[in-house]
Amino acid sequence: METHELALYFDENLFISDMKARNKEESLQELSELIASQRYIRNPGLILDMLHQRETLGSTGIGKGVAIPHGRTVAASDVVIAFGKSEKGIDYNSIDNKPAQLFFMVIAPFHDEKNIYLPILGSLVTFLNQKKNRERISQVTSFDEFISIIRGE
């Protein structure tokens, strides 16, 4: 998936330039509650539960300051990505043991007609593997700046 297509799944209302969370649990809560507050999901508890199970499977902290908590659930109706940035960084039990600063929470429905969930995850990983992209994203203060970087502008 090209990043201009990936950009379609972000939402200005699901963007936090300065997260309040101080630990991993709070980071999952902060982003899933934001998704629920925007009415993408009715029951944030179910999403949080699914995300906890996902972390049991293996930390979604992929290293280099990036975390991509993700999963599919019957309780979601659309694919959405919430973004959050923590200046201080959060201990996320990442594979390189470095604190996470950039959080991309991807929530998808159980049945995803267009089969876009896995391509979205793959495209995010590829994008964030590039040092230049991580550096630019870590500087953003507004959604407009953020989304133009995702679009590759």
Binding site: N43, G45, Q53, T56, L57, G58, I68, A76, S77, F110
Partner: protein
Amino acid sequence: MSKNELEKLVSLQDLDLMIGEAKEVEKLGFNMNGYDELIKAREKLAQDIPKPLLARYERLRAKLKRAVVPVKDDICLGCFLRQPTSRGSRGREESLIFTCESCGRILYWLD
């Protein structure tokens, strides 16, 4: 959070999907060193669901792949049959276990 039976079924199905998809997600570059632990978590959750309901879930899953499906705008997203509106308010507020009269799947109201 103490979950009701419907919520437990939703979690179980989410977990089954996660287990089924783990290999594909691993290929994208995620580590999956807790696979065995997740299988144990699945067993634990299943034990917490009344036996007849769990059996119903397993039967539906074997037959239709998805045992629990969302309802959106009163439409079953498993077979697209419209559900009576009166069911919706009860399905949401009381989290009762309703099944779709057309496809037999267990219904979860999204909105």
